[in-house]
Amino acid sequence: MRRVDTPGKATGAAEYGVDHRLPGMLVGKFKRAGVPHARIENIDTSGALALPGVRAVITGADWPRHHGPLLRDQPALATDRVRWAGEAVAAVAAVDEETAIEAIDRIEVEYEDLPVVDTVDDALADDAPLLHPDAELYDVADTPGMRIQPEPGTNIAYHFKLRRGDVDVAFATAHVTVEDTYETQFVQYCHLEPHVVVAQMDPRDGLTLWTSTMGPHTLRNMLADFLDVPASNVRVITSYVGGAYGSKMYLRIINPVAALLAKKVAPRPVRVCFDREDEFLSAAGRLPARVTIKTAVDREGRLVARQSEVFWNKGAYLDLGAMVVRNSGYVSLGPYRIPNARVDAYCLYTNRQPGGAFRALGVPQMAWAGEQQLDRVARELGMDPLELRRRNILQEGDESVTGEVMSAVGAGPCLEAVAEQLHAMPAEPPETASGVVGRGAAVVLKSTLTPTATFASVKLNHDGSVDLIAAAVEHGQGTMTALTQIVADELQVPFERVRFVMPDTSVTPFDRSSSSSRTVFTMGNALCDASREVRTRLLEMASSVLDAEIQDLELRDGEVLVRDDPSRSATYEQIIRRYYKGPGNIGGLGSFATQSIYDPMDPETAYSTRPSTFWMYAAAGAEVEVDRETGECRVRRLVTAVDAGKAVNPLGCLQQVTGSAVMGLGMAMSEELVFEEGRVMNPTFLDYKIPTTVDLPQMTDIVVETPHPDGPSGARGVGEPGVAAVPAAIGNAVFDATGVQMTSLPLRSEKIYWSLRAAEKAEGGS
């Protein structure tokens, strides 16, 4: 099955957000603060305003209203205070790029520097400067199952709690107990298409945005709220998105800046586009976490208790942070039966860029800790790590740590698929005399955004073609193709005859966003619902036109067949034309909403019998060679298995599995945005290394199928969990090879070298 979108992408014809052009379009640019924490003493924009070609200059004072998806703690442009170096303090619209850049240079800002809160320890210190001294006064968005309550007098923006059984008693009586602390780094999205928005204010229709976003309706609603206008006054139109991975959502910097500039230069359109430095300094990214985790087992290797304490370096504003912290918090102990569990996860304000949702939403960080620690426990027990996992992994009917009775659990099948491939052949000997070889595996589960509501339209036209009208964004994940297949199948029309209408909030019905691996599941169900409506109406019309009972009709390949009398069959086109005595069409509006199956999580204990519409599962296995002399680590093989439920498009699923594995590989081996006192030290691709073809191990990518009872044809999300399993699997392989467990990411040679030397010293000294 050829993807719908890729032939156009192969010819250069596909239109991305950056390709959108309008006549008379102005260039918008913003000025970055350049200092991580400061009071703004004065902003002088006179030099910029005097520059010929400048059409507008804005500062925080122009529109001081705050925004934020969960907590309204973020101004569009810094008002009295700067909280991270990449924050916008002013913006301009000018006739061309050069003028805009010069105007930005001419804006003078005077700062009074404030002490910088860079690390988790800085944020937790007794005398820590408070980033948001009045945090408790901010408006809180109503988010089901989440109580956002910044703790007054601290930098704690959110505290997630999970309580199950009695961990203290269990730890006191356990056979083996292990406790460790692990850390992860800030990872940038690095989608190759940058953030871009073209905005235009029309006196009658309001604001229109042409932008690269994963969630056009969510963006529209948040922007309307921020501008204090009805949602109908904002329209968001999306074309192809050149990669997002959780980015390009919510307002952040670019959307408010573009909207406020467009208001000022109306009716001229203005385009704001990030350059690569903006992407590194001012976009969100994967949040760093410090995880202290403790695990206890009995003599047979059964988990009796696990607890984790997690500190998240959230950056200047909460953004989606609390969601990341909660949704990764309740899976931080892994896909296992754990009778006694405790999690405390804290989201801390710091003077760094506010990280946000990033493919697998916090789970890679949690798995790096929990899955590595299991291998330590296995070593203490003298048990094979795979066997330890087998004894504890969630099975059909088991209760999860939140209290859900699990079904259609893909964790075991993913782990077994990986184990089989990883150990299918003996490891080749090391290539160097000082080399050692090891293997390791990890398994994860991930939830999806819940509850959400999704709507979609399907229109059968009088020529027999179908319009699929859905706010499902194609950002590379194959959405268009999978959804087209679902509709073609439901309505029995050829795949080629389904036209996918690109998302436009004035045309395509509401959907939360094409994120959280939820689109095939939720939008697929909504489209099935819409298709059924079309089908029902078509059969009614056919019954009338063909003078046959509905139960004697069936749809096949664009035709209505009368059973037992093939001569009376008619094409869809004929049915519609005969019925209406001319052209016409049949429309269906479908929906899929999950509020009725969702059990809101208890904010004190995280108890919920159904916190997630569906669960995703993945496992990874790695074989590494580590040079004991130099610390150099080479991943030789990487096996990744993800449960697709039912693969609607097998090649599309494989693309997601291999892509998520490579993203996990980058996080494991090389990627790290380096901060010093709140400043980013490596904001270029020369210094921030993402994997390329030469970094690739021998890869095996596997699509596992454990059908989900509620998914379309059994399908479930597949895009994210692979990322989460890979770093821990590689860490476990290093542990297996060297006997030394690495606690922080990424696994740079230097770090491994020093860990090996420290271990030797400890051994020699004992």
Binding site: K9, A10, T11, L192, R276, Q655, T692, L696, M699, D701
Partner: protein
């Protein structure tokens, strides 16, 4: 506009008004409104903007526009003929070597040169040759398969 340059793009003679500080990428995107070649980083790292100039691979974001004067430029738009994908494009589509597609034009142009220079490359040679092109969707294994399939298709049955 500071000056006019003459060049050939995808076999067509073009006369473009440009600014002196424009890159070849600006000439293509702003001067000719040819939007198939994409800018990923603007600093020569990611390979998205790769085109051919007189048959040689060039990062168009680093190549000064005035230097393109009198030259023969081939971009992604020049690969398909009469709306039909060429063998290389077909291989990328069929093998799943395209996800978000933003890097695809750069990969296609780089692969075209690879297969001209080395019609049956080993996997190692492909990896080496494509190492300057980023695919953040991480679809490298399928891209490698696509290149191998294209090499086979080119070699014929």
């Amino acid at each position: 506009m500071n000056r006019t340059i003459d060049l050939t793009v995808n076999g067509r003679h073009e006369n473009v008004e440009i600014h002196d500080n424009w890159t070849l990428l600006d000439v293509l995107r702003s001067g000719l409104t040819m939007l198939g070649t994409e800018e990923g980083c603007g600093e020569g790292s990611c390979g998205s903007c790769t085109v051919l100039v007189d048959g040689r691979l060039v990062r168009s974001c680093l190549f000064l526009g005035v230097r393109a004067s009198g030259r023969d430029v081939l971009t992604v738009e020049g690969l398909s003929k009469d709306g039909e994908l060429d063998a290389l494009q077909n291989a990328f589509v069929d093998e799943g070597g395209i996800q978000c597609g933003f890097c695809t034009p750069g990969f296609l142009m780089t692969t075209k040169v690879l297969l001209e220079e080395n019609p049956s490359p080993t996997e190692e040679e492909i990896r080496e040759f494509l190492s300057g092109n980023f695919c953040r969707c991480g679809g490298y294994t399928l891209i490698l398969k696509a290149v191998q399939a294209a090499a086979l298709a080119k070699a014929g049955p």
